[in-house]
Symmetry: C3
Subunit: 333 residues, 3 copies
């Protein structure tokens, strides 16, 4: 079982993934959980394990805000307390299901696996841009650790190789940009690429005057544990970024560990089949096999012990890894 930082907000699901009147069962941080919206509009997150015989509660049924185990019928309310025993009488002593704090913010559900007293929703990173009907919110599984997925996102130069065809890039654009790694007041780490006065990629040429050059920026924001946002812009060169060729884009890349070696990946995309195909191609056919190859290459070894060669372009990824390591150590001590 992996050692996770506990006192953090992790994304559990898009709120709209939870069936109305039902529940969502999802494995998060090595354990099964059951998530549902209560009659009063609040959210409940219960361990997906009956304390009696340890059967999954998700094999049972919901009645009102009570979850009934499908094996011997005990019922539990949103607080995890046993409120129904089919044999009658007092609910059995000690029959309580663990719960976690969970809140809805920006259309997403966030849970706090650490000390509930520290769970302040104000520290949920800002993903307001992910809301609204113009986005399709999606979820996929990757059979890789959230840390390798973070490494992948925090060094976008991989796009010049593994997404060259799907993104229509030319294999060298990013390498001529300027990289900056910053931290901000929200605790975020930013890995920013700014390309100035460059020949535009093929897809952008029709939107610019013949022979015009462009500025492009790709800014990746990271919050622990692995909640990322990518901001992209493209403007005519030398225009102080005002003359944007396409509207600025912002995309969530929010990764939550399912287990030590598998992850939930939350994203948004444009509506339509073409965008759905693109997501599948880029994430599942291009990113995932390469990330799996990396994970296999490490062979279970600790990242630092394995002594990978660190390039300047790894600066953002390395800073995020160091931050996580510090948080882990702080909690361990």
């Amino acid at each position: 079982m992996a050692e996770y930082v506990r006192n953090l907000w992790y994304m559990a699901a898009w709120a709209e993934e939870v069936p109305k009147g039902g529940f969502l069962a999802r494995k998060l941080l090595d354990r099964g959980w059951l998530i549902y919206r209560c009659a009063d509009g609040g959210w409940a997150m219960l361990a997906d394990r009956c304390p009696h015989r340890f059967a999954a509660l998700s094999k049972g049924q919901r009645a009102g805000d009570t979850i009934h185990c499908g094996y011997h019928g005990l019922g539990f309310d949103r607080s995890g307390a046993c409120v129904h025993n089919p044999f009658g009488g007092e609910p059995p002593a000690g029959a309580r299901v663990p719960t976690l704090p969970i809140v809805e913010r920006y259309g997403a559900l966030w849970f706090w696996p650490g000390d509930p007293a520290l769970a302040d929703p104000a520290s949920i990173p800002d993903f307001a841009f992910a809301q609204g009907p113009e986005h399709v919110r999606g979820h996929l599984s990757m059979q890789a650790s959230y840390e390798y997925i973070t490494d992948n996102l925090m060094d976008l130069s991989h796009a010049e190789f593994i997404h060259r065809e799907s993104f229509g890039v030319n294999g060298s654009l990013l390498h001529h940009g300027a990289q900056q790694v910053l931290t901000d007041d929200s605790g975020a780490i930013w890995n920013n690429w700014d390309i100035t006065d460059a020949d535009p990629p093929a897809w952008a040429k029709p939107m610019l005057p013949e022979g015009a050059r462009m500025d492009q920026w790709l800014h990746m924001r990271w919050h622990a544990p692995a909640s990322m946002a990518l901001y992209i812009g493209l403007a005519r060169a030398g225009t102080d970024r005002k003359e944007m060729v396409v509207p600025p884009m912002a995309n969530p890349h929010i990764i939550t560990p399912e287990t030590a070696g598998s992850s939930h990946y939350f994203y948004t995309r444009e509506p339509g089949d073409a965008a759905a195909d693109m997501v599948r191609r880029v994430f599942k056919e291009e990113d995932e096999p390469m990330i799996l190859s990396v994970q296999e290459g490490f062979g279970g070894a600790d990242f630092w012990d394995a002594r990978p060669v660190i390039l300047p372009s790894d600066a953002g990824a390395i800073r995020a890894r160091r931050r996580l390591m510090q948080l882990r150590r702080a909690e361990a001590s």
Copy 2:
């Protein structure tokens, strides 16, 4: 490898499962075994592993009462002694296959994995009721520990939930019965449910006068390690159980570990496709997934260390677990 109680009779197979003139190969208590009926009508049980190169003897051939290894041809008799070497000359020193005591009783084959000097067939539990052409004797595999399967059988209240449709029960009958846990002189533990003066289940109503009430009893008998017998009766209420609506039924539920996490399940059923379908549905589609969920819920932890909540309805199951634990400890010391 699991720690099994050794000085007990375990069921290996129904006698009729063993092909005439051939042998049955079956994994029992983590090891492969080869079982056959000798020319004199007695039974032999040999380890399914040649002592020469450790190939499975079941990949070889039987000639008379001798089993020939299919790899290099050594032959072994029912006592496990090497009696044939294709290179001629004396059988190789030390070439001996382990054997176990095995006896036929009630149409079943029982083996004793412990000290052969203690193997007294008189201690085989009584399953005389399982014989006869009116029963079809069956065997299936469950990917679960015999102890979780025992828990399932020793608390029949699960039927009100997971077998509600297949058994046509109403979801609450058993919860109004009286439970008694007893031991008898044979060393059995009985977990008895007696329901008195209750509204009959739908399937029994046509056999009773309009508006009549009934008594029903479900008595489960357990012998270590996991050889169970279920006795069921249904009579018109207040008749001192004489006026039975259906003939009394007795069903074997005999569980033998294949490995720590998988089991052989021996049962009987009525002839016909409908009964075969019912067995598949009840055991494989209803019981097994729930038992697997339980096993997964424990995640390999020791039952007692995991501190499940114990209900009064668990009394029989818990007493059986305690008995097994005592037997294990007695053998370990």
Copy 3:
């Protein structure tokens, strides 16, 4: 991870398996390797793992004698040195891919996983007979340890049982032969069977006069770790082996560990579909299942600790196992 003898030549591939202008990726001794023929005709063998992010280099591309990682574009030459960084500037310090000595000999590629200073091609065992267009050179995978495959080949009496039908043997020929185990100046261990004045097998009868008897010899040569050659001859009895009925045959059986529990098997066969079918049948359908049964029978135990019964016919196999054990111990100390 298994403990392999390092200072030995292991066969990696047939030279003709490596695509022209490309590379061959193969797992050998638990690690991925990438093998290619350089522009000057020499061979390169690089670890299939980029030292930057540990992605498999085989997911990248070859350009000239440089291998470019498919993840972030670093390029490595045949010496393992980083010679290209797409961000420009000096190649990153310490970015070096491990390499191994590799040479072509007898149409096969041989690598040396130990101390390069000791890698003398003169110690590559002689497989000159495997060359030439009259042979089809093949490679297959077996899900078994190279040591159990060696045991199988060093005791050919198994053929009388598991290849009886495919080879058309009579089940007893070898058992009447004389066995000799020898060592020679090349360090080889020979396990020789010589059958004299015997009734010929069915397939050889048409080539001999009515009622004639024959001499047959099957000589298996073993070099550490598991590079074997089988020499077969069949002559009219009492002719001092001059009057051969079929031309003498020599077949390579060269086994290289892929992992502790899987192996590469290099062989030759005659051209044509019938010979290809025979290879599949003999190696995959007859040998492999039996060797797997043996491996399962040992259940991961050390061979000597498991105390198998040793027969005289095991003399060659046992001597090979002892030699390997001595080599392992010598390297460990």
